[in-house]
Every structure is written in C-alpha cells, then in structure tokens.
C-alpha cells in the first residue's frame, strides 16, 4: 500500500508570491489534514478536508487556503507569501475521522520564502 505522498519536496519562493503544495492520501482515506512545522513554533494544525469539503481550519490567516479533489487528493495554497511562512508543511490522511484512527503523514514539503 502506497503511503501519503507530497509534492514538491522543496519549494523556494520570494515574498509576495503564491505557493501550491500537493498531497495524495493513502487509497481509501477520505480525510486530509495539513500541518505547519515551523522552527520554534512546533507543529500546528492548518486545515482539515473530508469528502471534498473544508471541515475545520486552525488559527491561520485566510491567505492559507486549499481544496480537496474528488479523488481525495488535496492542495494547499499560500498567497502573498511572507518570510514567516517558511516551514515544513505536512499532510496527513486518515480513513475516517474518529479519534481512534491514526493519521498517516507524508514526508512534507519544505517551503522557503526569500
């Protein structure tokens, strides 16, 4: 069974640009979560998608947005990039969103904003 995949591995942008990060969940998983792992700030929840809908978002500005496609893959968009957006962005998927269910993580996308 293929794991969660993310692309690209690394992304370098300049301030003010837009970044698009992609995630493919494990087959059969309908829930996709996005987390930001920034130096000094730890891991913070960004967004949750389930069955094509945004179900919840963390304490991040609206320039962080995304979507989930019919095949359950997901895209995270970050507009008007700021230097502090530099971080590792992790995507996770789970079969159903019950608290028992493990979230499986992808390898992450390292976003660097110059």
């Amino acid at each position: 069974e293929a794991g969660v995949t993310q692309s690209p591995t690394h992304l370098i942008k300049t301030r003010g640009q837009q970044a698009t990060l992609r995630c493919s969940p494990i087959s059969g998983h309908t829930s996709v979560y996005w987390y930001q792992q920034a130096l000094g700030l730890g891991l913070q929840f960004l967004l949750w998608y389930d069955e094509g809908e945004e179900r919840n978002r963390g304490n991040f500005p609206p320039r962080f947005s995304g979507r989930q496609f019919p095949n359950y893959s997901s895209e995270l968009n970050v507009n008007a990039l700021e230097l502090e957006d530099s971080a590792l962005y992790l995507c996770a998927s789970s079969r159903v969103w019950t608290s028992y269910n493990e979230q499986f993580f992808g390898p992450g996308t390292r976003l660097t904003v110059l």
Binding site: G42, L43, Q44, W48, L90, F105
Partner: protein
C-alpha cells in the same frame, strides 16, 4: 482549549538502555486517545503507540510502552533497549474530538541514542 506539554526539549541515552520521555496535557474531555509520534531525521512522522483514556492498562508495543496517569494528565513514553534507529524527534499528540480529530502536538523531544 487542549494543550500538550513536553518539558524535555532534548534527551540522550546509551544504546541498549532505557529512556522515558514526558508529556502532560490538559483537557476537559473524559474519554479520549493519546498518541506518541516519531519523526526520524528523514522527516516522515510515524505513530509509535496510542492509549485510550478509559483503559486502565498501559499500552505496549514491543520496546515502547506508556505510563498513563489519567488523574495527573500525564502520558510518558518509555523506550526499552534503545537502538540507534530510535534517534528522532518524538511528539506527544492529542486528537480534538470536537474538531475532526485534528492533532494538538507537544513541542517535541529530540532523542539521541548514542553507541
């Protein structure tokens, strides 16, 4: 709001010895799960062990076990017979039942296993 605290930013242990990583949390829920995740230097996070709050028995997975103290809201991870491959960041995590089980993470503990 739920909070998760890991008070040991860094720890080291000799190969084959035992180490315990601490985690405390705060919640008003009565039934919940707790997780320990491992993030090796290659970055992919994997689940190490999970504990259900209403279960009295501490969870065990091979060399990994937890000491769950519900009243004290403490959830420590014990690694026995430490191996070089255990070198990683370890995160204690709490799923928010009321928010699609998004995870609240502790700040992490960087564990170095020395030969």
């Amino acid at each position: 709001a739920q909070t998760v605290t890991q008070s040991q930013p860094e720890m080291s242990v000799q190969e084959a010895e035992t180490v315990t990583l601490s985690c405390t949390y705060d919640t008003s829920e009565s039934n919940y799960y707790l997780f320990w995740y491992k993030q090796p230097p290659s970055r992919q996070m994997i689940l190490v062990i999970r504990q259900e709050a209403y279960k009295q028995q501490n969870a065990t997975e091979n060399r990994f076990s937890v000491n769950f103290q519900k009243a004290a809201k403490s959830f420590s991870l014990k690694i026995s017979d430490s191996q070089l491959g255990d070198t990683a960041m370890y995160f204690c995590a709490f799923p928010n039942n009321n928010a699609g089980n998004m995870l609240t993470f502790g700040g992490g503990t960087r564990l170095m296993v020395k030969p």
